[in-house]
Amino acid sequence: MADKDKVYKCLSPVGIESSVETYPLAPRLDKLDGKTIHFSITGEPDITIALDKKLKADYPSVNWTQKKSYMPMPVYLTEEEMKTTDAVILGVCW
């Protein structure tokens, strides 16, 4: 057999991807009124300042909480804060 016809086993250069257990999304809220919704701000103040103002103005019956970072990484809720938070909006990085 000519070399050009020889069959080779060629190996995969791709990294090892772990198996992942996938989860359903959390059940959604039945309504916004009276809920504690956390706004996790990560950069893009042109958007987040405007959003923050409008959320508070248009949805006054929501208990809005907020943590802010200019970095891509959000400031996390503590375990205690998670217990009293009904939903989280995060943006614009994550």
Binding site: K4, D5, K6, V7, Y8, K9, C10, L11, S12, P13, V14, G15, I16, E17, S18, S19, V20, E21, T22, Y23, P24, L25, A26, P27, R28, L29, D30, K31, L32, G43, E44, P45, D46, I47, T48, I49, A50, L51, K54, L55, D58, Y59, K68, S69, Y70, M71, P72, M73, P74, Y76, M82, T85, D86, A87, V88, I89, L90, G91, V92, W94
Partner: protein, 484 residues
């Protein structure tokens, strides 16, 4: 994304605001985090905030209230294929297979190679990979782990023995996987310990701006593998430098899963990363008393290391003509001598005063890697700088500027966290400092910069925008000897 996943798993519904061109990345990261159906909505890159928010605030809030679909209620196990043999066939057939492309949609909308950098590769047959593995004593099945404790990204420390996660997909890799990529890049077995040390860095590719990935070798390995430290050391022609540089980029593609337009979002891209850039310092031509990179970072002179950098910024050449530089130093003639006020006075003169502090004007703040030819390093030595540290201290002190001016920079809004924290040197709140408070544009310490000496003779200096001791929060120097 792990944070959003944690919240969803804890029963807290989330809504993510991203940009249109980031959806593929969101989906990929969401899967990796175990919540493949995460809900997101794009903001605009161009519409002013108030107008933009008006358009999507209601659908954004619906992400929190709209009942889950059947698909969103699903749980299960994502088990990707992990075949060791990717293809069987002739070498010609294999070349065609490994050259396959996929079209990545807007904002790219062009074919992108699945397994390569777009160029033909050396086919990683079992036989070639086995030969490559002779370059290390590590077993093929050994996972790539950190060989020493080191600071980690976003202040997460890495400990010796921790498994390296290759970004952006958080894949892991074995020694064999690295060897496969080394074969594809054209490396020889004697290059493998270098490539393994580079793999230990996780071969990151940066974010959305212009991250340049480059590597600099130091120690005996430089001569062992014959990497160019002289004229043209950053250019083409040297097999070791070319192949090792390319190995970084192939590992980023294959071990990291970095795909332009999906998970590698550098807006225009960088020519530095087109094939890969690896070079080495010329330790033989360091001025007396100046340490090599290996010793600067706590290794011994006879230990081999690689500095793995991702620098967010430019590769700027000091903009003087080599002839003008010689005129300055030989006899005090020309424009450089006029600027320094040494007309007619023979050198050596401090040429740094010609480029400082202007390198930070109109350019990004932070450290620099100064890559200079040996003659220019010798001139600094001759005028009194008996160590690199003395030079770096001098450069740093020249970088101070009033806070009023510093505030006008762009990245500082981000890195001061919106000026909410304290100025690092004084420890005082940024917002309480007066306009004339002096801030170092050259980084928080002299050691954010470094000096690399090149063996070429033509008088040139590069200033690479780079925070040497902490890019991505990682200590950037890795032992090659640990991977022999």
């Amino acid at each position: 994304m792990p944070y959003l996943a944690k919240l969803e798993k804890a029963g807290i519904p989330t809504a993510l605001i991203d940009f249109d061109d980031q959806h593929e990345m969101v989906k990929q990261e969401a899967l990796t985090a175990g919540v493949p159906n995460i809900r997101y909505i794009p903001a605009s890159r161009t519409t002013p905030g108030p107008e933009d928010v008006e358009q999507w605030i209601e659908p954004m809030l619906e992400l929190l209230t709209k009942p889950l679909t059947e698909k969103e209620k699903e749980s299960g196990m994502y088990t990707p294929s992990q075949d060791r043999v990717l293809f069987e066939g002739t070498l010609d057939e294999a070349q065609e297979f490994y050259q396959q492309t996929r079209v990545v949609p807007e904002p790219l909308n062009a074919p992108i190679s699945v397994y390569t950098d777009g160029l033909p590769i050396i086919i990683p047959t079992e036989e070639r990979v086995a030969e490559m593995l002779k370059g290390t004593s590590h077993k093929p099945e050994d996972l790539i782990t950190y060989q020493s404790d080191r600071g980690g990204r976003f202040d997460r420390p890495m400990h010796k023995g921790d498994v390296v996660r290759f970004q952006p997909r958080s894949f892991t890799a074995t020694v064999e996987k690295v060897a496969i990529n080394a074969v594809m890049a054209g490396c020889k077995p004697e290059h493998l310990p270098v490539v393994l040390a580079i793999a230990e860095s996780g071969v990151q590719t940066g974010t959305t701006v212009f991250n340049n990935q480059w590597m600099c070798l130091s120690g005996p390995v430089v001569k062992e593998i014959g990497i160019n430290t002289g004229l043209g050391m950053m250019g083409p022609g040297n097999p070791a430098g070319m192949a090792i540089g390319r190995a970084y980029q192939l590992m980023a593609i294959n071990l990291g899963g970095a795909v332009p337009g999906i998970s590698r979002m550098s807006s225009i891209g960088s020519p530095i990363n087109r094939v890969g850039l690896c070079f080495a310092e010329c330790a033989d031509k360091l001025p007396p008393g100046w340490k090599g990179l290996n010793e600067e970072f706590g290794f011994k002179k006879d230990e081999s290391v690689v500095m793995v950098m991702g620098s967010e910024g430019g590769f700027n050449g000091a903009q003087f003509s080599p002839g003008g530089y010689r005129a300055l130093q030989k006899s005090g003639h020309g424009g450089m001598a006029r600027k320094l006020g040494v007309k007619g006075v023979p050198g050596p003169h401090n040429w740094l005063d010609w480029i400082l502090p202007d390198i930070w004007v109109g350019d990004r703040e932070g450290g620099r890697a100064f890559v200079m030819v040996h003659e220019m390093a010798k001139h600094l030595y001759d005028i009194g700088f008996k160590s690199k540290d003395e030079v770096l201290e001098y450069i740093w002190k020249k970088s101070f500027e009033p806070l009023k001016k510093y505030r006008d920079r762009s990245w500082v809004d981000l890195f001061t966290n919106g000026w909410l924290g304290n100025e690092p040197l004084s420890g005082k709140p940024w917002k309480e400092l007066p306009d004339d408070y002096m801030v170092p544009a050259g980084g928080n310490s002299p050691q954010e910069s470094c000096i690399i000496v090149c063996g070429s003779d033509e008088e040139i200096c590069y200033e690479i925008t780079a925070t040497i001791r902490g890019m991505w929060g990682m200590q950037p120097v890795y032992s090659i000897d640990a991977w022999r």
